[in-house]
Amino acid sequence: MVNMTTEAAVISTKGLNLYYGDNHALQDINISFERNRVTALIGPSGCGKSTLIRCFNRMNDLVDNVRVQGQILFDGEDIASPRTDVVEIRKRIGMVFQKPNPFPKSVYENVAYGPRVHGIKDKKILDQIVEKSLKDAALWDEVKDRLHASALGLSGGQQQRLCIARTLAVEPEVILMDEPCSSLDPIATTKIEDLIEELKKRYTVIIVTHNMQQAARSSDYTGFMYLGKLIEFGETCQIFEAPGERLTENYVTGRFG
């Protein structure tokens, strides 16, 4: 295990446990995510990757019967506590979901939604934000002539980049991505990966993926989870080339059974 100084860590957990009813879905997770780095979370289906990142923006609050124990420190503040302002947290920690989920509104309205709800009314400023976010999400050229057409008319890959643009428009500090490429074809996937490369210059990115190559290519750190536990965490090249644990090795080499 690599021990990072807490200074560089944006988000870190201490003894994080989560239960869905009786199902102990996260067991004593201790992990840190470094600023301006991409961290990948890998592991077999059902091991708790989504559950873990959904703790960071408190999306699990929407699920009935969840119980969380332990600490999640974000900039030194415990965001697992019931007193946390979840809305504020979600402004600062954005999320891109597995399936693209644009609102049934126009492309423009999708991107302007976040800034609008956070109180920006000036049309000129909104225009600027929309254009900049779409450019940052590498989507501008494809949609600049159809900004006011429905977002549901975009292709899957375009929709996913729109969701990224929508997240960028809020200017979060951290971006959580839950298998953002799983419903996309290889070309669209490449575009998103290039995008992630760009994003890490300004954002901290945490990405869940089932795609080993993707994890190996685009992340700086990798965490391997299994049955609700964090088995191993380290620099990506170390995890893939010299894993410390048997389980990790089996998983990354595809000999998993």
């Binding site: 999306m59 809305v87 989920n101 709800v117 429905s150 549901l152």
Partner: protein
């Protein structure tokens, strides 16, 4: 291989499905046939735009304009009350309600839908109009306002349950997507969920409107029934008379074949046209909204809504209109106060923080559901508390004496049961057959299924009093059944037919195709597949639909008003050609025509309420039980 059996069965279902269409044609034909003679004497223009409705005067006049205006006013008022309360409650139930509250509130609201309209009317007559009389210090509370309040309450269950369904259908991922951007729960609701559910919510409002326009009994009992346009037009305390009310009041006393008789059928045609316009506009609005949300790139608009000046201009026009309306509607002082309040609200709206506006919004939503539940509680409590002392063994088993002031309601109970049993045994085979045809034997949109579906939709949208008129013209007069049990059964049966078809079709459709394919792949025929693997899991749904229809048939008054019901009859009917007593009709007459029958009024209302609510409760129970068990 040709299988005669299979084609025979198919033919049978096709026949039942066609029945719905044929009955629509029949109804329209008979209404028109009896309406036409009026126009040999009165011009269409004088009829529609004539300012006086006075068919029994020395010089009869047949101007239906005040009736149309009154109908629209009552509907408008009802919607002003029902839409905010209904939407607020729906949003609360789908977004905020803890599951325990939901478990109580949802069935309660469905029960609200089950209360027969004559019971609402009775409550309105005894309680509501009295409150209004005292509160506004007027000689009589029977007024536009009373009608609108009562009809608003009656429209609530429809609006709430349909829009709650629409909200629940919004995919969870929209909710998550919005919350993940750091918007508050209320921002998510108001900016993402409600716009996404808009088509369903619109449908809810229009369905509620349909219910209001078609209602007869409650309207007759609380509106005062003066065929005048309120003076001034904003005088909500003026008595009014709707199209349905006119039919309900005058049809019973008119000489068959007279000019007045024709005029009433012409009124029914106008009513039908209005309901048709409402239904068609619903279809049109839904289509429009869908196409706006759909994936197509929209055409370039001449006036693009994205122009710099477009929305400010719209807003300015709206603001001017609102100011004018307020000053027109209210005396100067309250108007000024209201304006200041509105201005403050607009000023504050953009300046208060999202958290505070969320708090305010949630308080309002909770208020809406609280009001709805309170209204339900008050109506039920009032009738139960006052009705219980009247209940006794004698009351349930004796015929009425002294015009219903004394004695019991035994013949009315039995009459209602006869009517309902007859109606269901008439409607059930036809309804289920039609549904099987539509769901299993048609694929998508052939011309014929299109016609059948339209027919069923039209039948569904028809006001119950129109069924009553048709039953009278066709069954009672044309077929010479006379006012009889048989005529009432068929009329009620026609009325519940669309409900049975719809619920059956829905539950058949909820059986997944893979199950059918599985059975067909084993070499069973179509009908074997339907009978053995499609119908059994659909049974609870069909049962629920049937029970709801029974409840509806038991509580309806308007269709039996002129076809089957008599007020007093000591003996039970011995053949289907005899008229019967019926609970809702009995209550209606006791409440409106028999002074001094207070105790038995409450007793009758309570018995009717218990009967219908029990039927609904069974239906809701069956549905909830199976919804939990069956998940494909």
């Amino acid at each position: 291989m040709h299988n005669w059996n299979e084609s025979l069965i198919r033919g049978l279902w096709f026949f039942t499905a066609s029945f719905a269409v044929l009955s629509v044609f029949f109804i329209i034909f008979f209404l028109l046939k009896d309406a036409v003679p009026l126009f040999q004497t009165v011009s269409v223009q004088d009829f529609i735009f004539g300012n006086t409705w006075n068919p029994t005067g020395a010089t009869p006049s047949y101007g239906v304009f005040p009736l149309i205006v009154d109908t629209l006013l009552v509907t408008l008022g009802a919607m002003v009350i029902a839409v905010p309360l209904g939407l607020g409650s729906a949003v609360y139930l789908s977004e905020l309600a803890p599951s325990k509250v939901k478990a109580v509130a949802k069935p309660a609201i469905e029960l609200l839908a089950g209360i027969p309209s004559v019971v609402y009317g009775f409550f309105g007559l005894i309680v509501l109009t009295d409150w209004l009389r005292v509160a506004f210090d007027v000689p009589s509370g029977e007024s536009w306002l009373a009608g609108s309040i009562l009809l608003g309450v009656m429209a609530l269950p429809t609006i709430i349950s349909v829009s709650e369904d629409a909200l629940n259908m919004v995919p969870q991922m929209f909710r998550e997507g919005s919350l993940a951007l750091g918007s508050t729960h209320w921002q998510t609701i108001s900016r993402v969920l409600i716009p996404s559910a808009l088509s369903g919510i619109t449908a809810a409002v229009i369905l509620g409107m349909g219910r209001v326009i078609g209602e007869t009994m409650a309207v007759i009992m609380v509106c005062g029934n003066a065929a005048i346009i309120p003076e001034p037009i904003t005088n909500v305390l003026s008595p009014v008379r709707t199209l349905t009310g006119t039919l309900g009041i005058e049809m019973g006393e008119v000489a068959v074949g007279s000019l007045h008789y024709s005029a009433l059928f012409a009124v029914a045609v106008v009513l039908l046209v209005i309901t048709l316009i409402v239904n068609l506009s619903a279809v049109w609005i839904l289509k429009h909204i869908r196409s706006k949300q759909s994936a197509e790139v929209p055409k370039r608009h001449f006036i693009s809504p994205n122009n710099e000046w477009f929305w400010p201009a719209v807003r300015a026009v709206l603001a001017v209109l609102i100011v004018l309306a307020v000053f027109f509607l209210f005396p100067p002082l309250p108007a000024a106060v209201l304006m200041v309040f509105l201005a403050a609200l607009i000023y504050a709206k953009d300046r208060i923080s999202p958290n505070i506006s969320q708090k305010i919004a949630f308080v309002l939503l909770r208020g809406a559901i609280a009001v709805v539940l309170c209204v339900l509680g008050i109506i039920l409590l009032y009738i139960i508390v006052n009705g219980l002392p009247a209940l006794s063994w004698e009351f349930l088993t004796q015929p009425p004496r002294d015009l219903g002031r004394a004695g019991g309601i035994f013949p009315a109970i039995v009459g209602t049961l006869y009517l309902v049993a007859g109606a269901i045994s008439f409607a059930l085979p036809i309804g289920i057959g039609a549904a099987i045809y539509l769901s299993e034997y048609t694929r998508g949109s052939s011309r014929i299924t299109g016609i059948i579906r339209t027919g069923i939709d039209l039948l569904n949208g028809m006001p119950s009093i129109v069924f009553g008129l048709f039953g009278f013209a066709f069954l009672v007069i044309f077929l010479n059944f006379g006012v009889s049990l048989l005529a009432g059964m068929i009329t009620l049966g026609l009325m519940v037919l669309p409900t049975i078809i719809r619920t059956t079709e829905e539950s058949l459709k909820s059986v997944p195709t893979s199950v059918r394919e599985g059975s067909l792949a084993l070499g069973s025929t179509k009908w074997q597949t339907i009978r053995r693997v499609v119908l059994p899991p659909a049974l609870p749904g069909i049962l629920t639909g049937t029970i709801l229809s029974i409840g509806r048939a038991a509580g309806e008054t308007a269709p039996i008003l002129f076809t089957a019901a008599v007020f007093s009859k000591r003996f039970l009917p011995t053949s289907v050609y005899e008229p019967v007593m019926a609970l809702p009709y009995h209550l209606f007459i006791l409440a409106t025509n028999v002074p001094g029958a207070t105790k038995n009024q409450y007793g009758t209302a309570l018995v009717l309420l218990i009967l219908v609510v029990a039927i609904y409760a069974v239906a809701i129970w069956i549905r909830n039980r199976y919804q939990k068990n069956v998940r494909w």
